[in-house]
Amino acid sequence: MDKRDTSEMVQKGLVRYRQERDWFNFLNGLLAQDPSEESQLSKSITEITVDRYDQIIRCAEEGKPFIAGYFCAAPEIYAAMDLPWYMIMQTPFLAASAPYLLEDIDACERMGLGTDWCTACRLSLYYIEAGLSPPPTAVIGLLHPCDAATVLHQAVVRNKLWRDIPMFCTDPPYFEDERGIGYFANELRRMAAFLEEHTGHKLDIDRLREVCQESNKQYELWIEYSQLRRAVPCPHGWGIGGGQCFAITQVFETGNPRGTQWLRELVANAEKRVREKRGSIPKERIRYFWFDLLPFGWVFEFLPWLETEWGAVMVMEMFGYTPYSPIDTRNEDTMFKGLAKRNLYESPMVRQARGIADYFATDIARVVKDYKIDCVIWPGHMGHKDGAASIGIMKEVCQQLKVPYIHIGLDLFDKRYTTPDECKDKVSKFFSTMGLG
């Protein structure tokens, strides 16, 4: 491909990316109008998000190295190598509330991508096939937690525009044991060597130690924050909390003091609210555990309704759950093993979906007990086949805990799959039948 082609490819790839950046700027403007401490915390996150978009746009325009990577593929290493990165699945994960999402889903259907394939994955492939993702210097792909992710990255490798971009995927072992940790640590070493080879950036072990130490502080603060959410009433609802902690620690500010400071402010805000016994809504009547990603594509049409109509507060969700342990930074080996453990067995969704189904059971049991949960909602995203195949186990653990359980069956990104009204009806009947609220 000659230089002019590359430049056109970059400019086209940035069109949608700029739109997303502008969407976050717009949200930022809305949040600026609300002086509450919580809105200002959210505003800081959107500013951080915009900064990341700008950074990638600059790299692409100036021909500087940047990569496509994942939260569960050791972002600590990218941070230590000073490599700007974005996710191929960024739009469905971060910008699914953008106004063009449904049009894009229709476009990927027209492209012939199977409709029972996870919408997040097929959307991401559509963006690449349509040339709407900025082509990075190198790609870190993903072979876990689900089949759909593996397929997506195989299709990315095949894509005409991307096939010359080098890709490395870490191979995930299935069981959680020392052998698996050692194997995955070696996969991460190979990933770091791959990045060094293709980006020219070097991994300095002392710098990795600094990043891991700072990220350990971030996780400590996140765990502290999670514990505050055990309070009755819960200090925060669905709008702020775990999702942003995840974005800070695993996406935007991994091992960066700016992120640590944001987490401190979040903890301080939650502490104050707990002391004042101030909940996220005036009267908390139902405490629920939402065991998945949030319905990003239509979040504003459903979750606020649960609060206002039913006094139902999302006390915990999959991405806010904090099973993390600190990384031992004594030496290179302990760090890579710590990163392997964190990224394979602790990071959200990967933890539950990648390995045996026991994680579904143990996480429900832990969260229900620790967070005084009144009911468990398994949203049943159409792409989460391993989760669907675990519903019997989830139901059984809820029965043992004597906590009501509901499986909705929806698409987290496409509200036409099961409409918000249908979801509301289903959840209302569930709450009424179970005598909740």
Partner: protein, 381 residues
């Protein structure tokens, strides 16, 4: 289309696909022989054979519903997983002494989770199958196979020596060779056996005691070599897809005049197109290398798409294929992606291509007929 062979030997193979426990397997059990179920073609069956047992490929043959499995799994799980789990839950797999899985896909790996909680089969093992095919993964799978062998030895009180393992590898390679000969016969203008019958032969090879199967297959090859074949068809087709074990599905395609002359299927050519290397010193390493690096792969394996596509394109040339039908079970992500990628590759080469979705237990026969008829017509056949 039916192949007429005087001895009726073909009927033995089709019977083995139409029932779960075929006559020979029943006799084997009656004589005290053990049978171990395998949930994926990446389970190294040779280890089970070396233990003196019959490896039996798990199916849902004869299942009429999924009521019990539906209490465990959701409606977005594939019908193969639900039917075969249902048969386990209803006790129809009570003849198994053990079941072995690999971490093959999101649906099948969860069958293991339910099986170990709800079904009382004495020996269960799940192998962590890599998703890449390079050296570190070969080594990882070598360890997995070695641990599998150890647990099998310990549980059943048998010793699987290198000698026994090599003997089993030789037997399985021999069967692969015979199956390749069967495919070779289909290259000609008048293939002596239909696609549906070939699938029956292949499925039977995963359900019968292997030495007996090999003997039967030799006899079949001899009879087929004398047969006139099927000269009367509208088009030569290749079938590509996952776990298709029902010859009746191919039968519907062939009723429309499209003769399936080759395939890339879980129960088809991908099982036997290459052999385990018998020229290395460690049989466990030989198996690991075969399953991870050498054999034709399914879409689960990353980094292999080009090789998979080349495998299909070579088959098209070698078997003079006029068009390709890709089938997949609804909700299978791997085959969704593969259908898309292969379709793009074949489009570039101008090869007629039809994508079909199906349920594990055959339904919608009329729809299938219409799709295939239309496909043949668009090919000008």
């Amino acid at each position: 289309m039916v192949t007429e062979i005087g001895s009726g030997i073909l009927r033995k193979f089709t019977e083995a696909t139409e029932t779960l426990v075929n006559t020979e397997l029943r006799d084997w059990r009656a004589q005290g022989g053990k049978v171990v179920g395998c949930y994926c073609s990446y389970v190294p069956e040779e280890v089970i054979t070396a233990a003196g047992f019959v490896p039996f490929r798990m199916r849902g043959t004869g299942s009429t519903g999924t009521d019990l499995a539906d209490t465990c799994m959701g409606s977005i799980n594939c019908s193969f997983a639900r039917h075969s789990l249902d048969m386990g839950l209803s006790g129809r797999y009570g003849f198994l002494d053990g079941v072995v899985w690999t971490t093959s896909c999101d649906h099948v790996r969860r069958i293991y989770d339910h099986w170990r909680r709800k079904i009382d089969t004495p020996y269960l093992r799940l192998l962590s199958l890599p998703k890449k095919t390079t050296e570190p993964q070969v080594e990882w799978y070598r360890e997995e196979i070695a641990m599998f062998k150890e647990t099998l030895e310990k549980h059943f009180g048998v010793e699987i020596t290198d000698e026994r393992l090599w003997k089993a590898i030789r037997l399985h390679n021999e069967i692969r060779g015979l199956q390749r000969q069967l495919y070779e016969l289909r290259r000609g203008k008048s293939p002596p056996i239909t696609g549906a019958e070939t699938l029956a032969v292949m499925v039977a090879g995963t359900a019968m005691p292997r030495e007996y199967y090999g003997q039967l297959l030799r006899e079949l090859l001899q009879e087929l070599s004398l047969s006139d074949g099927h000269p009367d068809y509208r088009a030569r087709l290749m079938l590509v897809g996952g776990i298709l074990d029902d010859p009746a599905y191919i039968g519907v395609i062939e009723e429309q005049g499209g003769l399936v002359v080759t395939d890339s299927l879980c129960f088809g050519s991908r099982l036997m197109w290459t052999d385990v290397d018998e020229g290395v010193s460690d049989p466990v390493m030989a198996l690991a290398r075969y399953y991870i690096a050498d054999r034709p792969h399914c879409p689960r394996m990353f980094g292999e798409q080009q090789r998979r596509s080349a495998f299909v394109r070579n088959m098209i040339r070698e078997f003079q294929v006029d068009g390709v039908i890709a089938e997949r079970l609804v909700f299978c992500d791997y085959w969704t992606g593969e259908q898309f990628m292969l379709g793009e590759d074949l489009k570039e080469e101008g090869i007629p291509y039809l994508k079909l979705d199906r349920e594990y237990v055959q339904s919608g026969v009329g729809q299938l007929r219409t799709r295939v008829q239309a496909f043949l017509e668009t090919m000008g056949r």
